[in-house]
Symmetry: C2
């Protein structure tokens, strides 16, 4: 017996299998719930290439989505994409025991509410992942770089569950930023994502520098970032004034880069439009903050994706 | 000998060969300057399908762009697309005699200035075409519908040249709206074109109803139309308040429709982005009129087309 918690990863794609690998390295028992890759992973586990060294692992349990757990986990790691029509509470419910905590490792803004309402008695830990990782085949994952998490309770705080998970992830080999205000951190990431991700799709997969170097491109990105900052402030999360310029300088320094939404678009996968942009515009409308540039980009993508 | 004027069409694509056909029917001598379709037209003329009846015609003269005219025409009809990097004054110059008048049949806003400055001593007639016509092969044109022109002098007025040309076009079988304020008419057409044409390209060829029926789509189109109206008013061309709603109702009535820019996009042809939208935004900036929605659409397309 170990005092390490039992983990179950729901949605063990590239992100989920990566953080599962990290917790496995930290000594946890880690199971996964799979759809398309069930056979490959049941047979051969997850095979990784990674600058962190050997991350390949065999899950302790491999479930199909319609199975039942033989024992409830201490924590469910939810790592599915946030898409309209995907009821994440329903995906998670069969795996939640009386004391199971729910850990989100997902992108976007205002993505916790549904789950907080569905599981009001359970611990809820919200994580943002800063990582470049992709699935290259059934059970095959290529981890290019990074892996840092920002972690905190939703809507605020940093409780014992966070402390426990945070130190396990560190043991497994990644950095974790403990945050008492994870929603603020989501807003901060959103200042970059809300312009660049949707614009890259609208421009058919354009990279960051193509966007910034087009006539008017940098001005448009700056204005969209300022709109996000204004909504964040109205929502109670003022961000530092110099964040926009720092983002722009940092983006140029990083060189031409195709963000995850651009890659989703180029690979014909659904895009997380609401989580990244739609929710920002909805909050802006509720709070009466004008966001004409964000609205135009959102609407153009809704026309394409309706 | 006839007292009908000699016409030379520069840029005898679908539009140019259509209006050449009309003036030929009216009894004019009509020549053409061609690039790619020179051999086909020299050999077999223009072959039309059209609801107006037999429009096929053999030009009286067929020139290549690098030839010299054996006699200067009374009017040059300029029907090329308005694209960055295309010096229309240079295209026209070799064909302009001392008394040759210049007739533009081209789409867009603020597209006359270069030519007015290049040929200050020559008559300048500016026409907007309302027509659905397309080239289906070398020298082959399919005229689907319409053909009406709005005509006037640039920047204002309706002189003897306009009267003469206007009645010739009518003799040839199309309607002409005589206008003392053709720039105002360009603004009026722009209220429809500036939202729908670029949005259709940004949405990868979406038709009018797909744009209007998407969540937020009609609001976006309405707001873009209102922005164009505000720039037009600031530029000295106030338009009727109900134009926006009339445009929206009319567009719905017309049914799903792919505009010319959508077709250019879908057929990998260059799009007239500046003539249709860029010039509106440039005038807005000069006059200090805020146009955030127009600017966002323009910039996203500039990123794609840079």
């Amino acid at each position: 017996m170990t005092d390490k918690p039992r983990i179950l990863v729901v949605g063990a794609g590239a992100i989920g299998s990566f953080y599962g690998a990290i917790l496995k390295r930290a000594g946890c028992e880690v199971g996964v719930v799979l759809r398309s890759d069930y056979d490959a992973v049941k047979e051969g586990g997850f095979r990784f290439t990674s600058p962190l060294g050997e991350l390949s692992w065999q899950p302790d349990r491999v479930y199909r989505a319609d199975e039942k757990p033989d024992r409830f986990p201490d924590y469910v790691l939810l790592c599915v994409k946030v898409l309209p029509g995907v009821d994440r509470a329903a995906l998670v419910r069969p795996w939640m025991g009386e004391h199971t905590g729910l850990v989100l490792i997902e992108n976007g803004l205002d993505i916790e509410r549904d789950l907080a309402e569905a599981f009001p008695e359970h611990p809820l830990v919200s994580c943002l992942a800063f990582i470049a990782v992709s699935r290259t085949g059934p059970g095959e994952i290529h981890h290019q770089a990074y892996g840092q998490l920002v972690m905190g309770n939703f809507p605020a705080g940093f409780d014992g569950h966070c402390r426990r998970l945070s130190s396990l992830f560190r043991e497994g080999g990644i950095d974790v930023n403990d945050s008492e205000a994870v929603v603020g951190e989501r807003w901060r990431k959103c200042v970059w994502n809300a312009p660049f991700n949707p614009l890259s799709v609208l421009c058919n997969g354009a990279d960051t520098l193509s966007i910034l170097d087009a006539p008017g491109g940098e001005d448009l990105v700056r204005t969209m970032m300022e709109e996000v900052m204004a909504v964040a402030a109205a929502d109670g999360y003022p961000l530092p004034d110099d964040l926009v310029e720092k983002n722009l300088v940092g983006t140029r320094k990083m060189g031409a880069y195709k963000n995850s939404m651009a890659l989703d678009y180029l690979n014909d996968r659904p895009i997380e439009l609401d989580a990244i942009l739609g929710n920002v515009v909805a909050i802006a409308q509720r709070l009466g903050v004008p966001v004409p540039h964000l609205t135009t980009v959102l609407t153009a993508l809704r026309i394409r994706y309706q």
